[in-house]
Each structure stands twice: as C-alpha cells, then as structure tokens.
Amino acid sequence: MSNKFSRRGVLKSGAIAGSGLLLPTYLRAESHSGFTNAPTGSEVVFGFNVPQTGPYSEEGLDELRAFQLAVEHLNGEGDGGMLNTFSSKALDGAGILGKKVTFVTGDTQTKSDVARASAQSMIQKDGAVMITGGSSSGVAVAVQGLCQEAGVIFMAALTHSNDTTGKDRKANGFRHFFNAYMSGAALAPVLGSAYGTERRAYHLTADYTWGWTQEESIAASTEALGWQTVEKVRTPVGAGDFSSYIAPVLNSGADVLILNHYGGDMVNSLSQAVQFGLRDKMVNGKQFEIVVPLYSELMAAGAGSNIQGVYGSMNWNWQLQDAGTQAFVKSFGEKYGRPPSNAAHTSYVQTLLYADAVTRAGTFNPCGVVEALEDFEFDGMGNGPVLYRGADHQCFKDVLVMKGAENPTNEYDTLEIVETTPRAQVEYEPDHPMFAGGDLGQCNPGA
C-alpha cells in the first residue's frame, strides 16, 4: 500500500513538471504511418518467440542462436554469413532501411496460449514489427493468427504441418520450412527403390494435427508407390512408453513401421521399436524396416545408434556443400562451436528474407512486405533456387532425404544425406486436397 502513495506522488510531480509535455495520442497503431508498430527511432524491433522451457527448449535455443547471428549479420557485425551468397543484394549490412536491428525474446513453452501471450507482449510492449519462431505447428498456427489480427508479419520457423500454409494460411504469415506433403513426396521414391514396391506399412501417429497431416501425406505417397497400409494407430502425445503400441506391430503382417512422431516421442518410439527386435525381424520374406518421415538432428542425437539406416527427410542439413550452406555453417560454427540444426537454418533464413523484403519494398508496412515476398525467387540460401509462392506463402525448394549414419564420428553427423529431391518433385497446387479450405485473406497492416 505504501508503494501506491509514493508512485502517485511521482506521477503528480511528473504531471506538474511535464504539463507542457502532456500530449495525448490516438491509438498507437494509428498515430504513425498507418501500420502497427511503425519504427520511429533509429532502431527496429524483431520478436523471437521460441520454446525456452519444456521438451523442445534445446531446439528453441538453437533457433535463438540463429536469430542472434542473423541480427549480427544484418547490422554488419561478424562475417556476413549468407548475406554474401544470397542472390538478392538489397541488404548491405547497415541495418534495415538505415535502422539498427534489435530484438526481444520470449518463451512459448510450446503452448499456443503462452505463445500468444508472449507474442502479444512483444507487439504491445516492445513494439515488435515482425514475430518469428516456433517448434510446433499448433503454436505456429496460433501465433500466425495473432499476427494477422495485430497487423505484424509472422515468419514461421520450425513448423511442418500442412495446415500452416494450408487450411490455416494467413496473409501476414510466411513459411520457409517444408511440410508434411513434401516429406512424403520426397521420401516415397527413395523408399520405393530401397525397399521395393511390395510393402505393407504400419503407422504409429502422434495423436494431434501435425501427426495426422504427416500420416495422411506419407500414406498417400507410399500408397501411390504400390504399398499397402495395414493399420494407422494414433498414440497419445508424450506417452513415454510406447510398448503397448509397438507390440501389435509384431503380428500385424506389416513389414514397414512408419513413425509419425517428433521430438521426444520419436526418440522413445524408435528406441523401443528397436528394443522389441523389429529391425532384426523378417516378415513376408523381407527385412523389417522403420521409417521416420521428419528428422531433427537434435532428436536424432537423442536416439543414438537406433537410427542407423533409418530413412527420413529434412529441410536442410549442414553437410550440404553449396556456398550458402558453407558460409552459414562457418559463421555459426565459429560463434557457437557447433554446426547449426535445420531449425536454426530456417530461422536464420527467415530473418534475412524478411529484412530483404523490407529493403526491397522500402517500408516496414506489412502489406509492402507481403507484396515483396510473394512470388519472390531467390538462391544462395542453402536450398538451391527457391520460390516463395504467393498463393499460399509456402517456400518451394529441394528436400533432403536422410538416413541414419552407420558410423557417426560425433553427435552432429548422426544423419547422412541420401538424396536431394528436386523441387519439381515436391510441388503441388495451392488447392491440393491436403491444403484445401484455407484462405489467405488480405494483408493486415493493423488498425
């Protein structure tokens, strides 16, 4: 209570002293140049909203490392990384439109509610003009919706569900990362040539939206190959012990197990499937195989030797040999002493792409940025030539098919690149049934 009076005293004296300065303004958004959080000073604020606590916090921290590196490069510090290899030369390392880039960070806890609260605080309190981050599709979709309403740009980082640029697509939201459909389309031919076209697949799927889109995509593309789907089983998220879901696989007549799991669930279900001797089994006269459609190198390290020879897909990997990748891996590795994960890569690229779009548009106005990013083609960011499609704000680029390495030398090369699937093979129409039902709406610059 005593506090209240002293504060009131402060306010009173402040009000008297500054009575000449009493300047009521209108809605913050309207007071400037017609869009939310238009940067007025010499700085522009980005909001990096990643999981810093909970099961995905390591991934979140790796994203945060990449964001900070991107900010350094934008401000002309460090060696410039991919700015040197990026096909667009609009960025010069002197900030964005002459403004120095600063950032705020927040913790999503991998929960939609908390992530939105954190993003709101960045928008309302810190004046962030762009929000990025994520390591779960649910969170990404939720924050993307918030940014659309608030009138800022959302550059999604790690989100793999078809819905992000499918039924939940938003005009203010952009995704560089690949999606479940692309995973399926890239993996199927490799699986076909490695395991043949006469296979019977058993799916274990994390029982939530990402798991479902992943299951739908990979089932469709393997069935197109000639495989049969024996069973699709939904497992509770965070089940820990998957033994009671794995045991029925043994006698199902299936000869391939597809694990539509991510993160800790993937580590546990894969390890336990190996413990049950699945990979030593012969079924229908064929060697039993396991497939993990979406790989993450941080989780691959957690699964250790169990992933040897297991196929999966990735958006990007540090072992690629192109100039952009090498530049990024060099600056990331020198700063943090470890190679970047593909979550880090997409985070870094998204930040640069946003900065570049602002520079080309000549404004921070979200509608200008949207216009600059739509149907933008670029190269030199580690994925070959890329198209940011305007119809659904999804990037189209090559997809990597990965395999667990037989003889990893350290915790970073547990995966090896099997094939780089060309972009043409993973493309689809914006109104493809798996992506139908969405509507970008119009870009929203805020009130």
């Binding site: 005593s2 306010l11 309190k125 939206t209």
Partner: protein, 396 residues
Amino acid sequence: MFGLNQKDTKFLLIVVALTLLTPFLLNPFPTDSAMAQFNAGYPALMQRFAIYGLMAIGFNILFGLTGYLSFGHAAFLGVGSYSAVWMFKLLSMNILPAIILAMIVSGLFALAIGYISLRRSGIYFSILTLAFAEMSYRLAYSVLTPITNGETGLQLNLNDPRILDGAADTSSLPVPGLFGMKMNSTYTLDIGAWSFDFNVGFYVCAVIAILGFYMSLRIFRSPFGMMLRAVKSNQQRMNYTGLNSRPYTLAAFVISGIYAGLAGALLAAMDPLAGAERMQWTASGEVVLMTILGGAGTLMGPVLGAGFIKYCENIFSKINETILHSWFSFLPDSLESVVVWFFARFVGEGWHLTLGVLFMLIVIFLPGGLVEGGQRIASWWKNRGKDEDSSNQPAE
C-alpha cells in the same frame, strides 16, 4: 454501503481504486529507461492479471472456505473458453452472449463433476477432480478435435456464420467487442517520459473482476459462507447434527466453476483462441499455486498470487543475456560476465528456477502467503510508529 459493513466497504473501494489505476501502477518506469523491462502495464498482461485474479477468487470460494482442494478447475476454464469461441463463431462477436453461454456451460459441467466428486472428501476428492480434468484435456487434444481444433486451438475463421453480425467484410477477422467497443482498442497517454495504455478489454475484465470480488466478499460474509467454513473446520460434527453439508459444498463448487468458466470466456474475448492446454493438470495446478501463494482463505491473497505468477511468466522469461549485458555494462568486463552468467540462470530460459525458488522462500518464510507478507509489513510499520511514541514518552 453495498450491503457491507464500513470496513469491508473501505476495503472494496481500495480494491476498485487499485484495479482502475492499474495502467498507472504497473508502468512505474519511463518507457525508454532500462527499468522499463519490468513494466507490466501493457494490455495483454493487465487483462491476464484481471482474468486469472478472477479465476483465483472463484477457486478460493471453494478451497479457502470449504478446504476442498480441487485439482481440476482448469477444465472449467477450458470449457468456458471453448463455449465463448463457439459463440463468436456461430452467433456474434459481441462478448455478452459468449460470456453468458460460457457461464451456463461451465456451471453445468461443474454441477456434473461436482456431484460425482463430492461424494468423496480429502485427497480422494482431489484425485477425482484431477481425473475428470485430465480426461477432458486429453480428449480435447485428440479425439474431440472436430469441436476443439486440437493442438492448434479453436480459432475464428473468415467463413464462420456469425448469424447476428450479418455479412461483415470478408477480408479480415472481426474483433470481439461489447456493443461496438472493440476489445483491442487502446488509448495511449504519454506523460513526459511515461506512457500508459488504457485498453477497453482490460477495463471490461477489471469491471467483471471487481464484480466477482464483490460477490466473493458477500459470500465470505454471508450465512452461506459461515456454513462453508463450518465444513472446513469439522464436517463430521456438522453431519452428526443432522445437517447435510453436501448441497452447500456443491453450491460452492458450482459457483467456483462458474468463476473459472467466466475467466475462460474473458480469455477468449480478449484473444479469440481456446487451446486444449488450458485444461491440462499444470493449468489446474497453477490456480492452486496462485491461491496458496497469495494466501488461501483470504480475500486478496489469490489475486496477488495470480498477479505474481503471471508477472514472473511474462516478465522474467523475456529478459535475455543481451539485456543483462546492457544493465551490467558499467562493471569491469571480467566481473560483468560473471554477474551476467549468474543472473542469466534466473531469467529467460531459467525463469522457472526463479519461480521455484520464490515458491520455496515464500512458503518457508511467509506461512500465510503473500498476504501475510503484506500484513507483516503493515504491522511493522505501525509498531515502528509506536516504538517512536514510546521512546518519546520518557522525555515527557
């Protein structure tokens, strides 16, 4: 006044004043100063203070008065949110129907769960409520996705019917409002280096929270409240006197469930999204922690506890090493990095540690929660005055 005695009226007026002045109280630091990091006076957080305060007030009616520890109150919060968002989708963006439906649905939900769970007492009751809430959460996350939209959370869509609102423009999502006043509109007052946000949504929440507080004050002071307290002190004796206490506890359970549903509806009204995690046991546990932390059974305690936890979650988690470096840049380099390393363990990715440590410190040193801390300061302040008086006396 208001059917309260003089002391309570004064108390209520103080609470009203504090609530309405929140935008000032929570923004004590100039916007551009280094301390601005600790300002909490932005709309989203102020709204959450009011909403979770309301929920904790309601929880306290059950737990503080009857001693029945429910570990499933988050289920009512979630149900309230889902009802409200469905109302926004189907009927109208006006928050009134949403709030009313949420209160009805959560009340019915609480009636059903309470009727079953209250057949047991003590820990058996807690586990029953926990089981119901966990079931609701797991089903909402998976099987019930058509109703709840699962992990992503139930959201508004451009093509929702919204019967009462008629054909709105289809290019952007509508904003919840109260007869034309949009929840997200904010008036920013700049005074010198300070700036204060006055947000419609916050004041709607604040007024409802004050009403909720007033209701709870009346319940605490009513014969009904007496009866609930009697349940806490000795239910067996009550039953032996031939009095069936179940209807009273059930009423308390339903009332607190409605409070939680109302809080859920307000969450959805401020930010139209209802996520399944709202029903998880951690969310139920959070309300329990808020109430205990502030002081169970006291009127103000739960609100303080709610504010405390939400403040930690939103403010400490946003402090990163870059900010720490800017604070301690005046120190010599070697010392700076040590100090920054130390504080970095407690903020940003380490904010949970701060929360855990504070929980322990508070419960060890302030057995009655934050309210007791306030009382101790107040009595110390008074006694200090007295000491001065007594020291003056010999001179006379």
